[in-house]
């Protein structure tokens, strides 16, 4: 009787385990962070891209304006893919584009912009990648939509056309 009871429990445990593994199979094992979190913009102090003057984050983000901060690098291939969408976004006057140049050198980065066009209103450079960590970023490319000093939406990986439409909807 007792052993029957134990076996029954055992079978139950295995059935539950099976179901959980079955569901687990469908989950992705790649980390996907929440992209809709409202978070304060982290403050930073970075060198400007063009010259060595220091730019403080508080000076950049004014309250009643939309900002689109894009982490990019000339060596990053997906960045080339998303570039055309950034150029389209540049035409929208309601939003300002901030570029965060990630682990790049000036020469390569400026020839990248010369070739493909410069969508940014302002570029700051993150030579060693530490500022991106403060933003909770994973790598390049990654972008943040900012309003009233808050991150309202986050885009991991290159921007696609749908993302562009979504941004235009959000800032209307």
């Amino acid at each position: 009787m007792k052993s029957k009871f134990i076996s029954l429990i055992l079978i139950l445990i295995f059935i539950i385990t099976f179901l959980i593994f079955y569901k687990g199979l469908k989950n992705s094992n790649i980390y996907t962070p929440n992209t809709n979190l409202e978070k304060e913009v982290p403050s930073f102090e970075l060198k400007s891209f063009e010259n060595d003057s220091i730019i403080i984050s508080e000076k950049i983000f004014e309250n009643n304006n939309y900002y689109f901060m894009n982490i990019w690098a000339s060596w990053c291939i997906p960045c080339k893919v998303e570039h055309e969408f950034l150029m389209k976004l540049k035409n929208n006057e309601k939003i300002k584009l901030i570029g965060l140049n990630y682990k790049d050198n000036f020469k390569n980065a400026s020839s990248f912009l010369n070739d493909l066009g410069n969508p940014y209103d302002l570029i700051v450079s993150d030579r060693d990648g530490t500022a991106s960590i403060e933003w909770g970023a994973y790598g390049v490319p990654e972008s943040f939509l900012i309003f009233q000093s808050k991150i309202i939406k986050r885009f991991i990986g290159p921007i696609k056309n749908e993302d562009l439409l979504e941004i235009q909807k959000l800032i209307r």
Partner: protein, 120 residues
């Protein structure tokens, strides 16, 4: 407490190298306890990805700014979520994780001792 602080500062001034060695040690310790988020099952310490190299730099800077190990963990947890910590926090999500093995150990011990006899 104050005594220890002054003592530490004196050591600080006298022996910069020693402190540096300690810093390296904590730095490595912290990096080993963090998951490299863009890698497959690697710690930040083990990984050589751009993300991991930058994160190691951040850890180094934070230590030099005087942040403690715990503060760095909570800073990163805030930025990246619990997924980044290799040492799971003990909370309601992880009660079973920490206690189930111990429970199994105790049950095992109980089963074995019930089979014993002591009389000679």
């Amino acid at each position: 407490m104050k005594f220890i602080y002054t003592f530490l500062i004196v050591i600080n001034i006298l022996n910069f190298n020693l402190l540096k060695a300690d810093e390296i040690k904590t730095e490595n310790e912290i990096a080993k306890n963090l998951r490299c988020l863009i890698c497959q099952g690697q710690s930040v310490y083990d990984s050589d990805s751009e993300f991991a190299i930058s994160l190691k730099l951040v850890i180094k800077n934070k230590i030099q700014q005087g942040m403690s190990e715990e503060e760095i963990y909570s800073f990163l947890k805030m930025k990246y979520g619990e997924w980044i910590l290799y040492d799971p926090v003990f909370n309601k999500n992880t009660y079973f994780l920490w206690l189930l093995p111990i429970l199994i150990f105790l049950v095992g011990g109980a089963i074995i001792t019930r089979k014993f006899y002591y009389k000679k």
